[in-house]
């Protein structure tokens, strides 16, 4: 069906007998690709007057933009927050996610001490995707500027404030050039200044792991924050007199035309299907599906020592040994897409866009990623009607094909 490797410069592919996701609709249309970019066939026809070098029959599959995961902590037993594992972890995970339809991602580093950030962050360089692995859009630093009570699995003793403003931030992370987004608790002192400094550097600020009320959340958004980290998880619950951060989905106190995006772990475990439906009904265009997958992801069932913890992997669940405590998500993003579509009845278009277009918009890269628009990078996936990933392409090159 698909070529195993892209032919040379200028070679023009026409993917035909397919339906493609464009502008929120799945339409019967061919997809044209040349030099790793999506081409406008009308221009090829009338201006360049060229034919495809190769026509590829797609067996009536759906073609959608490659998926983007902005929160993934590791996999195959490797943890991106452990210095000794990060390089091998990035290598393995960035290839492993091909089968999940993921073409780019934000490796996520949880709360760590400053000397660890200074070693880990330089090792996770932004890069385009290729056969070697999915694209790396930049690190998601989740912590250490989070709330003690809502820290979840983050180590308590490493949590910090930025009482001296952005200088504290720089002291902790060192060089920020490999960072794409940061999760912080907006109730901390100096938050507006810190958010503005991140925005100046093109880094997306997300609120989460937080005890904030709605007013603090709104203040953060007005300062430039544009994402909520794994909605419902690690924050105060919705209350009708103070909806807390969840209330940002329907707030009328935000700057006009400012869309707030929010992560949802739709793995069937971390967010109840009814909660998925609530979020979907009130703010569908802000949904960003994330896995928040931990290092046990992609491992077969078994018992694994991770640092000081022993984790039992069983199917799609992971527990701390001899407890019922969830050790983290083992979700794959394509699973999340299927589950979200099923539980919300939102249709395949939105479910797929929530894991492609929306994260790209949130990161400000939708001109190149997350769509099948002309001139975008040809990162795309082929799926059957049940949204099972049949093949994955990066820059027009087939990097995965289902057996």
């Amino acid at each position: 069906m698909a070529p195993s490797s892209a032919k040379g410069h200028g070679y023009l592919y026409q993917y035909t007998n397919c339906r493609i996701l464009r502008d929120g609709k799945i339409i019967r249309e061919d997809l044209w690709v040349r030099d790793g970019r999506i081409m406008n066939p009308e221009v090829l026809f009338f201006v360049e007057k060229v034919n495809a070098d190769q026509r590829i029959d797609c067996d009536d599959l759906i073609i959608a933009p490659g998926l983007i995961d902005v929160q993934i902590n590791g996999g195959y037993g490797y943890d991106f927050s452990t210095e000794s594992q990060v390089e091998e972890g990035i290598k393995r995970v960035s290839q492993g996610v091909f089968a999940c339809g993921v073409t780019s991602f934000c490796p996520t580093v949880i709360t760590s001490p400053p000397h660890v950030y200074k070693k880990i962050l330089p090792k996770i360089k932004k890069r385009n995707g290729s056969k070697e692995g999915a694209g790396i859009l930049g690190v998601h630093v989740e912590g250490p500027f989070i709330d003690q009570e809502k820290r979840g699995a983050h180590p308590q003793q490493l949590i910090r404030d930025y009482d001296n403003g952005f200088q504290d931030v720089l002291d902790v992370y060192g060089d920020l050039s490999n960072v794409a987004m940061i999760t912080l608790a907006p109730e901390k002192q100096n938050t507006p200044e810190v958010i503005q400094e991140f925005c100046k550097r093109g880094i997306v600020v997300s609120v989460g792991h937080s005890n904030a009320n709605l007013i603090q959340g709104e203040e953060a958004v007005r300062s430039g924050a544009r994402f909520i980290t794994h909605l419902f998880n690690a924050m105060l619950p919705f209350h009708h007199r103070d909806p807390h951060l969840v209330g940002l989905l329907t707030s009328d106190q935000l700057p006009q035309n400012r869309k707030v995006y929010y992560g949802l772990i739709s793995d069937g475990i971390h967010t109840h299907p009814a909660a998925l439906r609530i979020a979907h009904r009130v703010h569908p265009e802000g949904i960003v599906l994330v896995t928040d997958a931990i290092q046990a992801t992609f491992l077969p069932d078994g018992t694994y020592p991770f640092g000081e913890q022993t984790v039992v992997v069983k199917g799609k669940h992971s527990y701390l040994k001899d407890t019922n405590t969830l050790a983290g998500s083992l979700a794959s993003l394509d699973d999340c897409v299927r589950l979200f579509a099923k539980e919300t009845g939102c249709g395949p278009e939105l479910a797929l866009e929530a894991a492609s277009l929306h994260p790209a918009q949130m990161l400000g890269i939708a001109d190149k990623k997350g769509t099948l628009n002309f001139d975008s990078d040809a990162d795309f996936i082929m799926l059957d009607n049940d949204l099972n990933v049949k093949s994955t392409f990066i820059s027009g090159e087939c990097v995965y094909k289902a057996k």
Partner: protein, 270 residues
């Protein structure tokens, strides 16, 4: 002249597509022997294009060795504007078939030298050996391509200013903003179409009935430019029942009596 009367619009579309297919196949086009086809835009031919696409998709017809020449295009609207005839042809026909882009000719309404563009178009038709089959539609006022009432019946491809009525009617396609509506078009002339070996005019709907009457039952008249084809040796007018509303009963009966003969034209040559 032949008049082929079909019951409905869909029947007209199918008949027209079958006829085109028959002419192309009988011609046995090849790399040194291209079939040349003149093509219209507008709502009438859409059904025919759909059927032709179906023929291509079921493998019974290829456009690999077909050259096409479109009748007309607006001046100074972007090529990819949804109302441009480039967009029409792309969306309704070209993107679905196997025609070589080099062989699909549409006048360029954004050419710097519009007159030069028109002359070059005539030249291209000539170099392709003339048009084997020119398909056209007509407006309610009997115009063919943009040869509006009063156009010379020996006209060639040229720049035409659009009638005020046409400009106003088109405003709805351009956000009701008159400043966006094209006021000129490039169009083949009546003479250009007359030069084709064969012409097939599609006329459907009751609103075209009077135009059909003027086209075939009265004399040649430049106020009904399509009537010029009375003088063409091989012209088929192809219409549906509603379009015959203004014809004499005798005319309709006469041509319906010939339908068996007409349908033979769709059959494979023995």
């Amino acid at each position: 002249m032949r008049l082929v009367i079909q019951d409905t619009y869909d029947d007209v579309s199918l008949w027209a597509a079958k006829y085109v297919k028959r002419r192309i196949i009988d011609f046995s086009p090849g790399p040194d022997n291209f079939f040349t086809l003149g093509l219209p835009t507008g709502s009438t031919p859409i059904g025919m294009y759909k059927k032709l696409v179906e023929f291509y998709k079921d493998g019974s017809l290829s456009f690999k060795y077909v050259k096409t020449f479109n009748m007309d295009e607006y001046v100074a609207i972007p090529r990819d504007h949804p109302e441009s005839y480039h967009s029409f042809m792309w969306n309704n026909f070209f993107k679905h078939i196997d025609i070589d882009p080099q062989n699909a000719h549409i006048l360029d309404g954004n050419a710097k030298d519009l007159i030069g563009e028109c002359n070059a178009f005539e030249e291209k038709i000539k170099n392709a050996g003339g048009i084997r089959l020119f398909i056209g539609g007509i407006g309610p006022d009997g115009h063919i391509a943009f040869n509006e009432p009063g156009s010379s019946l020996v006209s060639r491809t040229r720049v035409k200013s659009l009638a005020q009525e046409t400009i106003l009617a088109n405003a709805r396609f351009f956000d009701n903003d008159l400043s966006q509506v094209p006021t000129q078009a490039l169009t083949v002339g009546v003479g250009t179409v007359m030069d084709a070996d064969e012409v097939m005019i599609l006329i459907t709907g009751a609103h075209k009935a009077f135009a059909l009457h003027k086209a075939i039952e009265e004399g040649v008249n430049h106020m009904w430019t399509v009537s010029a084809f009375q003088q063409h040796p091989r012209t088929i007018f192809l219409c549906d029942e509603p379009a015959t509303n203004e014809l004499r009963v005798r005319t309709v009966k006469y041509f319906k009596g010939l339908m068996e003969l007409h349908n033979k034209m769709l059959e494979e040559a023995v």
